[in-house]
C-alpha cells in the first residue's frame, strides 16, 4: 500500500527536525534515531545497497567538518556530523524512492507551498533532460571542431543555450494558448488522504518523538 505523498513528506520533515534538534556529540541518542530509516530501509521495497551507497554522496562535505573536529580532538563531534548527515540523506533517499519527485512537489503545494513555485519546478523537471541533451550536442559539436577548451566557444554555447531556451518558452506558451490556456494552469491530480495515512503519520511522529525525547 502506498502512502499519500503528503504523509511521506511530513514524516520525513519530522524526522529531519528531530535529528536537527540533537546536540552535537550526543551520539547515543543519534544512534537510537538512526534505527528508524534503517528499519524502513529493510521493510520497504527499495534498492538497499544502491541507497546506502548513494547516501555516501554527502560524505565529502561532512568529512571536512568532521576532520576539523578531529583535529581539535573532539572525536564525538566528528562522528556525530558524519553520522547525522549520512542518516539524513538516507532518509531523504528512501522517501524519494517511495514517492516520485513530482508527487513530493505536489504534496508541497497541497501543504501550502506557492503554486507558482511548484509549477516552475514542474517545468524545470520536464525540460531538464531536453536542455541537457541540447547542451551535450553543443559540446560535441565544439569538440568536433577541436575547440573544447575555448572560452569563446563556451560563452557562445551558453548564449546559444539561453537564447534557444527563450525561443522554446515562446513555443511552449503558444502551444499552451492553442489548447485554451487562460493564464492559470489547471491542477488535477489525485491525492487521497486515507485513514491509513493518518495512522501512519500518528505512529511515525509518536515513534520519532519517543526515540528522541523519551529515551
Amino acid at each position: 500500500m502506498k502512502l499519500d505523498p503528503r504523509c511521506a513528506l511530513l514524516l520525513l520533515l519530522s524526522y529531519l527536525i528531530a535529528l536537527a534538534s540533537i546536540q552535537p556529540g550526543a551520539n547515543r541518542l543519534l544512534l537510537t534515531l538512526c534505527a528508524l530509516p534503517v528499519v524502513l530501509l529493510f521493510l520497504s521495497p527499495v534498492p538497499r545497497a544502491e541507497l546506502l551507497a548513494q547516501a555516501a554522496y554527502v560524505l565529502p562535505f561532512s568529512f571536512a567538518i568532521a576532520a576539523v573536529a578531529l583535529l581539535r580532538g573532539n572525536t564525538a563531534q566528528a562522528v556525530f556530523f558524519l553520522l547525522r548527515s549520512y542518516i539524513s540523506i538516507l532518509a531523504v533517499l528512501i522517501t524519494t524512492k517511495l514517492a516520485t519527485t513530482l508527487e513530493l512537489l505536489r504534496a508541497m503545494e497541497r501543504l501550502g507551498a506557492p503554486r507558482f513555485l511548484i509549477v516552475v519546478c514542474e517545468f524545470v523537471i520536464r525540460y531538464i533532460e531536453v536542455l541537457r541533451k541540447e547542451a551535450d550536442s553543443m559540446r560535441l559539436a565544439a569538440l568536433c571542431r577541436g575547440a573544447a577548451q575555448s572560452k569563446l566557444i563556451a560563452a557562445s554555447s551558453l548564449g546559444m543555450l539561453f537564447v534557444r531556451s527563450l525561443e522554446r518558452s515562446t513555443g511552449i506558451h503558444n502551444a499552451m494558448l492553442a489548447r485554451g490556456f487562460n493564464g492559470s494552469l489547471p491542477r488535477a491530480y489525485p491525492m487521497q488522504w486515507r485513514l491509513a495515512d493518518t495512522v501512519a503519520l500518528a505512529i511515525g511522529i509518536a515513534g520519532i518523538a519517543t526515540l528522541r525525547w523519551a529515551a
Binding site: 514542474e122 520536464r126 533532460e129 522554446r168 511552449i172 492553442a178 489548447r179 487562460n182 489547471p186 491530480y189
Partner: protein, 225 residues
C-alpha cells in the same frame, strides 16, 4: 470552415512576412501547405487560432478571429506544433493530454478517463505516466496529436508533423490522419506525405500563395519532390 482574406503580418523585428493571403478550407477537406523554409507557412497557420493577429480577415467556422472570440476559436481549431517537445510541456503524458480538456472546464475525473481513452486509441496507454522526454519521436508526435484530438476540434492544423519520423512512422501517421473526419491543414515538406493525406495544396512563396489546386498538380508544377 476557414476563410482568410488579404492577411498581412510582420513581426516586430522583421520585414513583412505575410503579404496578402487569401485562403479557403471547406469542412472535411484536407489541404497541404507547401513552400520553402521561411516562406511564412507557420506564421500564417498561427493566425488561424489567433496566436498571431495581423491585418486582414480570418474566419473560422464563420467566427471572425478577434481577441474577443479567441476562446471559441481555439475550441474549434486543433493545432499540432512542429516541436512535440514544446507542445508536450507537462511532466507526464497523461496530464498533458488532459490539459486542453481541463481548460475547457471538463471535470478532472472525466478529463482523465477521456484522455486515457485517447491514449489507448493511439497505442500510448503504457506511457501515460511517463515524462514525455522519454518517448520516441513517433510516440511524442502521437501524444501531441492525442492532446489535440481529445478536445474534438473541427479543424486540425499540423505543422510539419513528419519532422524526426522514420518512413514507417510517417506511413503510420498518414494512415491515422486519413481516418480522422475533420478538416485538416497540413504543413509539410514531404510531398509523398502530402499526396497521401491531402487532396488539395497551396504553394507559399515569400508570404504569398503562388498557386493552389489538386495536391499532385501543385507538386508537379513546382517540381516539389
Amino acid at each position: 470552415m476557414i476563410r482568410v482574406r488579404d492577411l498581412r503580418y510582420r513581426y516586430a523585428d522583421s520585414g513583412p512576412v505575410l503579404n496578402g493571403i487569401d485562403f479557403d478550407l471547406k469542412a472535411g477537406e484536407s489541404t497541404a501547405l507547401l513552400g520553402s523554409n521561411g516562406s511564412g507557412k507557420t506564421t500564417f497557420a498561427l493566425h488561424l487560432n489567433g496566436i498571431l493577429q495581423g491585418e486582414g480577415e480570418v474566419e473560422v467556422a464563420t467566427i471572425r478571429v478577434t481577441t474577443a472570440t479567441l476562446e471559441e476559436v481555439r475550441r474549434k481549431v486543433g493545432f499540432v506544433f512542429q516541436s512535440s517537445e514544446n507542445q508536450l510541456f507537462l511532466p507526464t503524458v497523461l496530464e498533458d493530454v488532459m490539459f486542453g480538456l481541463l481548460n475547457q472546464g471538463v471535470p478532472a475525473e472525466q478529463a482523465r478517463s477521456r484522455a486515457m481513452e485517447m491514449l489507448e486509441r493511439l497505442h500510448l496507454a503504457s506511457y501515460a505516466n511517463r515524462n514525455p522526454f522519454h518517448l520516441s519521436a513517433g510516440e511524442k508526435r502521437r501524444a501531441a496529436i492525442a492532446g489535440v484530438l481529445v478536445m474534438s476540434p473541427e479543424v486540425l492544423i499540423l505543422d510539419e508533423p513528419t519532422t524526426f519520423l522514420d518512413p514507417p512512422g510517417i506511413r503510420e501517421l498518414a494512415a491515422m490522419l486519413n481516418q480522422l473526419p475533420m478538416a485538416k491543414l497540413i504543413i509539410t515538406h514531404d510531398s509523398r506525405f502530402a499526396i497521401d493525406t491531402t487532396t488539395r495544396a497551396s504553394f507559399f512563396d515569400k508570404g504569398r500563395i503562388l498557386a493552389d489546386g489538386p495536391t499532385r498538380d501543385i507538386i508537379q508544377r513546382f517540381d516539389w519532390f
